[in-house]
Amino acid sequence: MKNNEIQQRLRQEAKTLLEQGQVEYIVGYETGSLKFTTTPLLTNNKDDTDRLIVNPFIVNNLSVYLTELKGKIGIVAKGCDSRSVISLIQDNKIAREDIVIMGIPCPGLIDLKKVELLLSKDRDELGDITRDEDRVVIKIDGKEKNFPITEVLFDNCLECELPTPQEYDVLLGEPSTPTSGNVSKQTSIKELEATPREERWNFWKEEFSRCIRCYACRNVCPACFCQRCFVEESEPQWVLPTPKWQDNLIFQVIRNIHVAGRCTDCGECERACPMNIPLRSLARKMYEIVDELFQYKAGMDKNALPLLTAYEPTEAEDFIR
């Protein structure tokens, strides 16, 4: 089904939900202020539903708003977002019956940075970007260029395991399959792992020297839902509020441990980072560790116990003396 049809169905569905009073709020996407971009739309007005859109640029993980809004909420969710919603249900942050999930089968999202790099052009110089099955068609100065879609999709979309939400109330469109194809997985993680320990440490030292501690990664993360973050505690003061690399690193390490078993690899932390720190490398690594040690994937089963509140009598013993 084409995006236009999905969009039409979504607007209709959202309008009906508000009209019938089944939800108090709709959380979706609308056109953003910069070219191609989209921005979250939160509304309780049924006339606003005509602004809802679906296209390959709906990057935000909207489940981050669920813990902030009160009452019943209708949410637009891609595969990874739906997993975040389930993860929040597992943690008792929200109740399943308070959420209406409007699922969107997601064929992968287009990374505008990759497009710009590929064409060495600013996004404002581009005419139109459309997806045609396995190709992406980009209009520049009236001419059309097309590339394999795998060249412009986000890295986490290339490694996506669940493009179609498995938990939903309505599914808009037919289920889609992962786009990854023959793309080699997690190469950057494997490369980093192959380097000597000191180099790895120096790598992260350099990366976190750039961190300005804006906390965008934390604020955009649906799994980061603490009312009070440990970095803001003053007694004891675990980390200094000034952005020193040591404290930046500790913040990010502990953040990743806190979201272990909740992180669904949606890639929002890395997208939100204004300093281009490869945060997804850390998130993805944690995702793999959790899977390897405990065969656990976040947000797959709403009845499962959260990872760090459960245990098996015999597991992960090899490092204990």
Binding site: W201, A260, I320, R321
Partner: protein, 142 residues
């Protein structure tokens, strides 16, 4: 790695109040010999140990951290050590990816009757820490 003259590793131990702390006590009462490199913090349960304590200790200059609790099945609070085990497992692997020597993060099960084992654990951990040298992870002030 260059070793300072007369350097001795500093080990921070988080010992569970019910088993390992009593085990450490027994090691002393039984006059077991073990290196005096460990500083002990008594915690109610190994499940109390937040990964934040571990990395903060390394940030403050400890060369290694030892978390020790009751054997699986023996936890005074039924499940504390099981939860600690999961948390320690992911913490250790993750810190290794960041580039921290895995030897700096240690865990053990020591029961209240195992004074001898406690002495052995501290001896073995101290030996490993001597091999990898002083913790200079966070010393670079740039």
């Amino acid at each position: 790695m260059k070793q300072e003259l007369g350097w001795k590793p500093k080990l921070l131990g988080f010992l569970c109040r019910w088993c390992s702390y009593a085990g450490a006590d027994l090691a002393g009462i039984s006059r077991k010999k073990y290196p005096a490199n460990i500083e002990v913090i008594r915690v109610p349960c190994s499940g109390r140990v937040d990964p934040l304590f571990i990395i903060k200790a390394l940030r403050l200059g400890f060369d290694g951290v030892l978390v020790s609790g009751c054997y699986p099945g023996d936890c005074h609070y039924q499940t504390g050590n099981y939860l600690a085990r999961r948390r320690m497992a992911i913490t250790k692997k993750f810190l290794e990816y960041i580039g921290i020597e895995p030897q700096r993060i240690q865990a053990s099960w020591v029961s209240a009757s195992e004074g001898g084992k406690f002495a052995e654990v501290v001896t073995a951990v101290t030996k490993e820490l001597k091999e990898i040298g002083p913790n200079q992870l966070f010393t670079d002030e740039k």
